[in-house]
Subunit: 227 residues, 2 copies
Amino acid sequence: MDEPRRPSSLHGTSHPGKIPGATRKGTETRARIIKGALEALENGGMEALTTRKIAASAGVRLATLHYYFDNKESLLLAVLEDLIADMAEAYQADIPASHDPQERIETVIRSMWRYVQRTRNKQLAQTELTLYALRTQGADWLAARQYNAYIDFYSKLIFDGMGEISEDKKQIGTAVARFMLIGIDGLILQNFALHNDGDTNEGVETLIIATQDLVRRLQAEARLAAG
Amino acid sequence: MDEPRRPSSLHGTSHPGKIPGATRKGTETRARIIKGALEALENGGMEALTTRKIAASAGVRLATLHYYFDNKESLLLAVLEDLIADMAEAYQADIPASHDPQERIETVIRSMWRYVQRTRNKQLAQTELTLYALRTQGADWLAARQYNAYIDFYSKLIFDGMGEISEDKKQIGTAVARFMLIGIDGLILQNFALHNDGDTNEGVETLIIATQDLVRRLQAEARLAAG
DNA sequence: GTCTATATGTGGATAGAC
DNA sequence: GTCTATCCACATATAGAC
């Protein structure tokens, strides 16, 4: 109804202003800006996030920021892209040793939850960015990518390294991962709002049990179907 | 590190600029502004939300807005307060007829989910406001209030009207409501990001079963403890 | 209590030297 | 590729008439 919106915004997402980023040093600067933006976002939140603060936080002049990114929007989306790309290593979760999915689920959820609590502001920042992507037309695919990355990540943590993954296992893994993600997201919001760690821990336990039950059920169904 | 932040912001939350709101017509205008703010927020999102758009959306002049609210922040928080206050009637969920908690859980989650899907933008707006409150220092109590309101609401939907509510039932109700809320919040985010309704519906079914199992387990525990 | 008009600040973005 | 300096639109907020 009122948004002018320049058509180049989508394409400006993943590459710098003109043609840079190809240069060795330039790539580093670009990365510094992204890192600075994330830092500023973690501290002050979306509402207070300005390009000036980002530049300061990154140790870069305002003009430099605009040399690497067409506009604020493309920078913000690049931050989210970066978060997605680095997700797996950020959680530094090795695939659990046990070959029992039930045990793995417990291990994964617990370590996940510890990480979330250690990085409260990062989680808030990420949630704000996701909402932002959902609100920015032409950028909701990014939110989808993020969720698929998490689902894939969880799924691998639960079933990988246990011989060949059958089609059945893959489907079960995806469904289970989706449910785990639902739970973790819900827990994050509720814990940050109520910051009653005792009650939230109860939620974690409930989620573990529920997820384990889900696996059991899906496996039983698959066994039946296979005959 | 850098926020000036006027000390009156907290108190400006729930009452207008000077002393108004006491006048019959004044209260209506105040309500119109809040409604307009919510509408503008639902359509454009936080990032694009300006006081001018709010005023326009409310059919009020910009100065009028500032007559009723000290600043943008206090208006935004008032919107969230309003959302909390009207929550119960918004969901227009009567207490289900059945006296079986298991059935009630299913009914409540399903109708809840239908409502959520009908009001996607409202849910996004509410989530954005919650994040905003969490980020606004001195306002996170509002986020807590919101969650407690939901927990209370769900809890009542599941156990009310079934004779006197024992202490046991109350505790169980709260724990169950908390878990339902976790699930619904997680579902909202995931569905809006992936907008794959098929997969999300699977999540709804899983949540119903998991919640029902939780009630069973908690009731069994309570029975054991009672001897 | 609501309006018109305006002050004041700050944000995103660009020009152009180096 | 990074800087200094600056433009300009627009956002929040206020003054003061009605």
